[in-house]
């Protein structure tokens, strides 16, 4: 046995810590250099004066002292060896109240010990409330004080002490000069004061005070979760974002997210994601390191997104990364180790029940049918006669471990001087799957995803007015894992018969010579053995994204105050490849079983096709590249101290190429071209007005429709700045209303493959339309097909967005921010519904005819409070409600008005109303005819809504809630007690329906599919004719009648889960000082710890995807260090 991997990890972490400590100490010792003296003192007793004179004579030191303070004739004894000045002086000055200081040019000043001064004061907040527990530090020393319950403090300082630093969680750090006064009262300002915050907006920043658009900013620290996937942190954290996670598989666990819901029918429903202004995809966002994020903004309304013109209609997520700041080196490191386990595994029926019910399934459908499990087999299995001849295999147990260990490490270095500043970071994550690898395998086929990222942001001041920024970043995935992926292992478990064969047979006497594992199978080997599929090989994939960005910022204030110019060039390169290495497993079955001796012999099923060596196959290879150029002119100036005016014009160009597009049209470059502008005016921080526009071109449309103009306007009014507000200010300290309206476009309509709507797409070599002739079928020619008809009128999808917002702060503690929005989408691309089949078109005819409307509210409430000296508390609530509906939808003119989409959500489902199960065949025969194939007693009875005597698609009515949740919310608190902190965050969603997939869960299909325990326990059977049973009458295959979209398998997707719980401890300053650290915090957190829902089969957040890789529960230990 090798070393314990967990122990090894700890050792590595320890080594790392030691390394960083060592680097820090090196710097400290370097500053403590001093001269070596070569002075001899002959006498045993000598006067102080002589000592000093002797030193002055033999070295460069000069002494300075006041005679009234020092008795120079005092006799002292200098103990040898006295090699350093410090040594000698400490001997001379011992037992005096004198001290010395070495100044420049080796001038040594000896003075009496400084006067200790006692400073006093009270700390209050802006409202005049006393603040207990504020820590006061004398800058550059370890002198510390803390305010008492009444907010008072006292602290001893000396003349040399210059600055007091007041700090308190939730408040802005404040530095106060120590003058001659002995009382220093301080008013601290809340850190979260919404007015002074700077918000990153499209192509720039704005003061939150002046902000008009609906922009939500998220503190990066709120996004820290024990996961290497940032997207999983978003749900419930960000007002205005609808998000949920359907899978927990490493590498495929990206959450889905939409800003203010979905209001388009096109292929791109998710928001535009920009990192440092560069468009990236969801995976790039997932790989983003929280520690690298300087700001995280979600732009929701028209003024915020109009600048992105064609691409802003679905909202924008904008992230900027950290830049270095002038100052000393700042090193920060975070290490985490976590354990993840499935939140819930699907429960399967026991093997005996499985066989009995499989037989029942055959006989209940066809009394003459041939049962698959002879009764002798069932009996012998119950009696456990022989575990290989009558196997019982718990595939979940064979294939899955209980938990997996994941590690994450993160390091950043930043700092800089007057000329250059830098921020460099690196991160490495290792996510392990939870699959069992056979001990005999000499390669690891468990999923293991290593992701690395590097980022380097360098800012250089070329001149006083010119700054260049170079940003380089890359993220890299290295994966090795099962050939078919982790989710497939879960799927295969569901498809594998539990009683036909074991995962493998032990090597018996007949097979002592074989080198391979004797995998189990049955009959001719056509059955799935997921264990063999997992062990037989592995896949490696490698994915990398490289991003290089160069930016120049030129301040043009020498032309006119407030004018600046900016230009940016960016290129992004993406590559992906995978390779598979695998052998063909050897399968065996029990060829002969001797009932008397209860022994079996094995038969080889595929001795000719099995291999003991690995084969090799190459997989997918993707490459793409994009280039982006941006140039901007900015102007901002304050006139007469009251009129703030700003203007901006941005020109962008983007070119994207795909290396393996698949067809000619897709291989042509993807381009965007745009000019955008923003003009703002603010009067005295009270009134603000803004005008934005985007003028964009997209190559997808015909010349005359190619460019679109997307303007937006907005206004804001800060009432709390008005004079008349003064009396209210004690209660409502801030109050602001804002309104915006504008137009945003979307060119990502139809499907991504529809590159040029104005051109037809003709495949001149379509094999599906070919024909073959000749005596021996040798003359073949492929055919010609049209997959798109040209239409030069197709153009932008447009969204008219309106937003009404409110920002308020009560008692300076309770902040409320709420937005009401509406969105009117028009020009949505749709298939014409009036084209009959007999026209013979091979592709749909389309036009910009759809319309949709959405409205909703989103908001945030936060509250912070301190209790006594040591306790603080913060509470936060986020809420998003977004509901969409079709307002114009082209569809046939149904007589059944409930079939019409207008008025229903874009993700509304239509289905049959399942009344109950049929009591018996007679009832089925006498009910309206159901047109889905065989059915009878115990099958689902649907309601004939239109009363035409049969069940057809015309009886499908809108059922359930939309599949995209309409409500997402999150709430939580964080609190601290002394050095301990705790935080907890709940997240939930509501108004969502999902469907148990009856096709995927139909048992016994192909004599393989597993049976869910809940189905075994609760189904209609001839003995128990429960017409409300969970599962209808059993069937050996998928029964089409019972798998229709209906209310029968509809479930409420609402849930509330403890998304995160965290406990932290920050090391005391004293200890930090010893360790030469500025900060160190240990923490322990867990995510997805429990879930409140009415649905119990699997993790409800997975929705209909319940048989996939489960969502993970994570327990995590972390350490964060700053130097």
């Amino acid at each position: 046995m090798g070393p314990n991997p967990f122990f090894t990890k700890i050792m590595i972490i320890m080594k790392l810590i030691t390394l960083f400590l060592f680097v820090g100490l090196m710097q400290v010792s370097a500053s403590a250099y001093s001269q070596v003296l070569k002075v001899e003192f002959p006498q045993k007793s000598i006067s102080v004066k002589d000592v000093l004179l002797t030193i002055e004579k033999h070295s460069d030191y000069k002494f300075l002292y006041r005679n009234d303070q020092m008795d120079v004739n005092r006799m002292v004894e200098i103990k040898s060896p006295a090699k350093s000045l410090e040594n000698i002086l400490s001997q001379i000055l011992n037992k005096t109240n004198l001290s010395y200081k070495i100044l420049e040019n080796n001038l040594v000043v000896i003075t009496s010990e400084q006067q200790k001064i006692t400073l006093k004061g009270a700390v209050k907040d802006l409202q005049g409330n006393t603040l207990p527990g504020v820590s006061i530090v004398v800058k550059g020393t370890n002198k510390v004080a803390i305010t008492d319950y009444d907010g008072n403090y006292t602290i001893q300082v000396t003349e040399n002490d210059k600055i007091l630093v007041f700090s308190f969680i939730g408040m802005k750090k404040q530095e106060v000069l120590i003058g001659s006064q002995s009382v220093i009262n301080v008013q601290m300002e809340s850190e979260a004061s919404i007015l002074d915050e700077v918000v990153v907006v499209a192509f720039g920043t704005q003061k939150k005070k002046d902000l008009i658009g609906a922009v939500t900013t998220v503190k990066p620290s709120d996004l820290k979760i024990p996961s290497s996937n940032l997207t999983t942190a978003l749900a419930g954290r960000v007002a205005g974002l609808i998000s949920y996670q359907r899978s927990g598989e490493p590498g495929k666990d990206n959450a889905d997210f939409f800003i203010r819901g979905v209001t388009t029918f096109g292929y791109k429903k998710d928001p535009l994601i920009l990192i440092d202004n560069i468009e990236v995809n969801g995976t790039d966002l997932a790989r983003m390191q929280v520690d690298d994020i300087a700001s995280f903004s979600i732009m929701k309304d028209a003024t915020a997104t109009a600048l992105y013109g064609a691409r802003g209609a679905n909202g924008v997520i904008l992230i900027t990364t950290k830049e270095g700041k002038e100052g000393k080196v700042n090193i920060s490191m975070r290490l985490e180790n976590s354990i993840s386990a499935s939140t819930r595994n699907v429960e399967l029926a026991d093997p005996i029940t499985y066989m009995k019910l499989a037989n029942e399934a055959v006989l209940t459908r066809d009394p003459l049918g041939i049962v698959f499990y002879p009764y002798a087999k069932i009996d012998n299995t119950i009696k456990k006669v022989n575990q290989y001849a009558y196997p019982v295999t718990d595939w979940q147990n064979e294939l899955l471990k209980k938990y997996a260990m994941n590690q994450r490490a993160n390091l950043s270095v930043s700092g800089g001087g007057k000329i250059a500043r830098y921020y460099i970071s690196g991160a490495a994550n290792m996510d392990n799957g939870i699959l069992n690898v056979d001990k005999r395998s000499n390669f690891n086929s468990n999923a293991k995803l290593k992701t690395y990222s590097l980022r380097s942001n360098i800012n250089i001041n070329l001149t006083k007015t010119t700054e260049v920024v170079a940003r380089l970043s890359g993220n890299f995935d290295d994966y090795t894992g099962p050939i078919d992926g982790g989710a497939s292992v879960y799927n295969q478990i569901m498809q594998t018969n539990p009683v036909l064969f074991p995962a493998y047979y032990p090597t018996d006497n007949d097979h002592q010579y074989v080198q391979h594992i004797l995998f189990g199978n049955y009959d001719l080997g056509q059955y799935i053995n997921p264990y063999a599929n997992l062990q037989r090989g592995y896949k490696d994939y490698s994915r990398s994204t490289m991003d290089a960005q160069f930016e120049v910022r030129q301040n043009l204030s020498f032309i006119t105050e407030g004018l600046s110019l900016r230009g940016m060039f960016n290129t992004n390169r993406y590559s992906y490849f995978d390779v598979n290495r695998a052998y063909n497993p050897f399968f065996y079955n029990v060829a002969h079983y001797d009932k008397l001796t209860k022994t079996y012999s094995l038969g080889a099923i595929n001795e000719n096709t099995g291999t003991e060596y690995l084969g090799y196959s190459e997989g997918q290879k993707d490459v793409s590249s994009s280039v982006y150029l941006e140039a901007a002119v900015n102007y901002s100036h304050v006139f007469a101290e009251k009129h703030t005016v700003s203007g901006m014009l941005v020109n962008i160009m983007r070119n994207n190429l795909i290396g393996n597009a698949g067809d000619l049209q897709n291989s042509l470059p993807f381009r965007n071209l745009g000019l955008s502008g923003r003009f703002t005016y603010t009067y005295n921080s009270k009134y603000s007005a803004e005008f934005n526009f985007g003028y964009n071109g997209s190559e997808r449309f015909y010349k005359t429709h190619r460019f679109g103009f997307f303007p937006s306007v907005g206004m804001a009014y800060t009432l709390s700045e008005e004079k008349f507000w003064e009396p209210l200010k004690k209660i409502v300290s801030e109050f602001k209303v804002r309104a915006t309206y504008g137009l945003v476009g979307n060119d990502a309509i139809g499907s991504a493959a529809d590159r040029f709507f104005y051109l037809s797409n003709v495949n001149m070599n379509n094999g599906s339309y070919g024909a073959v002739f000749g005596t021996n079928n040798t003359y073949y020619r492929s055919g010609i097909s049209v997959s798109r008809y040209s239409n030069i009128d197709i153009s932008w999808e447009k969204a008219k967005k309106m937003n009404l917002g409110l920002q308020a702060k009560f008692f300076n503690k309770l902040g409320v921010e709420a937005d009401y929005f509406t969105e009117d989408r028009s020009n949505i691309l749709m298939d014409r519904a009036s084209i009959p089949t007999i026209l013979g078109l091979s592709a749909p005819v389309r036009a910009n005819v759809g319309k949709a409307f959405a409205k909703g509210i989103d908001g945030t409430i936060d509250y912070s409070e301190t209790f006594g000296k040591n306790i603080w508390l913060k509470v936060r609530l986020n809420f998003t409600y977004a509901a969409s509906k079709f307002t114009q939808y082209e569809e046939p003119n149904y007589d059944e008005k409930y079939k019409l989409h207008v008025g229903y959500s874009l993700s509304q489902q239509w289905g049959y109303l399942a009344e109950r199960l049929f009591v018996d065949d007679a009832e089925a025969a006498n009910s309206p005819k159901q047109n889905f194939g065989v059915y009878g007693g115990g099958d689902i009875k649907y309601k004939d809504v239109n009363g035409d005597g049969q069940i057809t698609p015309l009886d499908m009515v809108p059922i359930g809630y939309p599949t995209d949740p309409e409500i997402i919310y999150g709430f939580g608190f964080s609190a601290g007690f002394k050095r301990f902190d705790i935080s907890c965050f709940f997240q939930g969603l509501g108004r969502e329906s999902f469907w148990i997939d009856p096709n995927a869960t139909s048992p016994f299909v192909n004599n393989q599919r597993q049976l869910l325990k809940v189905y075994a326990d609760d189904h209609w059977s001839e003995d128990n004719q429960n017409v409300y049973a969970l599962w209808p009458r059993l069937s050996p295959n998928v029964n089409a009648n019972n798998t229709q979209m209906s209310t029968w398998f509809m479930r409420n997707g609402a849930f509330l889960r403890l998304k995160q719980l965290e406990l932290g401890y920050t090391l005391p300053d004293v200890l930090l000082k010893k360790l030469q650290l500025t900060n160190a915090r240990f923490y322990m957190n867990g995510s997805n710890l429990f879930n409140i829902t009415s649905f119990k089969l699997w993790d409800v957040e997975m929705g209909g995807n319940g048989l996939g890789y489960p969502v993970q529960m994570v327990l995590n230990l972390g350490l964060q260090i700053s130097l």
Binding site: D523, L565, G697, G774, G840, P892
Partner: protein, 635 residues
Amino acid sequence: MKYFKIYTYSLLIILQFSCSKFLEVVPDNVATIENAFTTRAAAEKYLFTCYSYMPSQGNIVSNPAFLSGDEMMVPEMVSVYRGISLGIQIERGYQNVASPYINYWDGEQGGKPLFQGIRNCNIFLDNIAKVPDILEMDRKRWTAEVYFLKAYYQYWLLRMYGPIPLIKENLPISSSIEEVKLKRAPVDECVNYIVQLLDEAAVDLPETVLNKTAELGRITKPIALAVKAKVLITAASPLFNGNSDYASFKNNDGQLLFNSVYDATKWEKAAVACKEAIDLCHLLGNKLNYYKPAMSQYSLSPEILTQMGIRNSLTEKWNPEIIWANTNSMAGTLQIFSQAKIDPTQQSNQGFTGCLAPSMKMAELFYTENGVPIEEDNTWDYNGRLDLKTATATDKFRIKQGYTTASLHFNREPRFYADLGFDGGIWYGQGKFDDQNTFWLEVKAGQSGASAGGWYSGTGYYIKKYVNFNNVISTGNTYSMEDYPWPVIRLADLYLLYAEALNEQNGPAPEVFEYINLVRLRAGLKTVEESWTSYSKLGSSKYATKVGLRDIIHQERLIELAFEGQRFWDLKRWKDAPRVMNSNINGWDISQETALSYYRITKIFKQTFLLKDYFWPIKEIDLIINRNLVQNPGW
């Protein structure tokens, strides 16, 4: 100031790109539909595209005539396995308007989108004149082929759906919503248009294909004439000729869709068309197929030779009887689905499945060895047909000597033994070419040929007729096949159509008997006159009347063309379907191990055929999209 200049210039350079040319990413020569007609080679592809919509007549899933009728069945469990359940759903009465099975109107559920095919044919016809580098001869021939295809697709739709909208010219995509709401055309108009297209096609079609290695399977003149004959026979048959059941079936504007007045001249036209087709075929050398092995290791008994003549007329590729075989629809799957487990040493071979099971009524359909129906034969014990009987040496080319099986299997006509596999039956070929030492079937439960791996015949019968005798069951999962393009029309079909048309026109006449007897002769039977006179309880009076002879012709046709995708349509056009298809689909009790228990007739399911089942339902949504389209009666 220096920097300012640099940046201004670089900004200007960037802005320079920003002219709209940046978005002109499409090169000029992206393919458009015009490219299909700029060269002969591209136009040929378009011709093949037109061909590609040809229904796969030999496909078990997409030809409804196989599994939607009463000829054969596949057990529910087996059928779902292989996705072949579509036709079975119709057979079992689950056809519906929501999502019709085997839907050739919309091209769903196993059907091909024939209206798309028709549109492509029209595009081809509109543009073929533009191709510069094509020989005039080819242009004419290709045009004629596309005329044929357009006609055939409409004929296929007519047979399934009755009156259809005729798309004579393509409507432009920019047509208004009202313009595209086309209505159905009356049956007679449809027939006339189809015949008109076929006549136009026949002018320029070649009589035979010269370049056989590259073009065999392309449409020739005999094919066009034979299809024309079939179209006219269909139009003359009771379903379409004076059918009063559909007297009130009309378009929304009141236009009648069926002509309910019987018109005898339709039979006359049909007979003329049949004769024209037969004469041309004879001229070109088509003849009924007889098995005359050029060189044979073994001297075969006359019985096996007769059986082989029958089998090979279908399974021997390009045999002289074939008028039209579809090279785009090979019979491989049919063969795999029909090969029984005859080799006890290869019980676990899954290269074939043997799951297509003829119904009991098909086993009873074939004549006795005297060439008359089993219930009419005065020498054959009809009532004792389920009794057990053990085969003797005289049965040895039919039933394994010494094997006990039902009396039904004894003393039947050669086509019975050539077409069907059954418990105890001899199965000649498949590697054993000595008729003294052949495979035979043992398919009762527990026997070597019974169910394995989930595959079995639900009735105990197998369709030997589909299986080429050269196929070999090898070891492992290998089944090596001699595949053949599915014969859509063969000469025997035309002979029987001609006989039928003549009899309907004028009643019994020497020419009627001549053509039936040609078919009977090849099947190893005596003439109608001889057989009925000597062996039928009804005697010679039966064939002397038009009605009696009609019965004889019908049964002869059902037997000769059994399992060839004809019965389903024939029963409908004769309006016999409600009588024949409202009965049980039966088989033997296949789960039994002993002969005593096995040979009990077991009901598998009850088939129903109602008036509405004559025609396919049009998908509900199509009627809502196009309110001028009317649904077929009963749906």
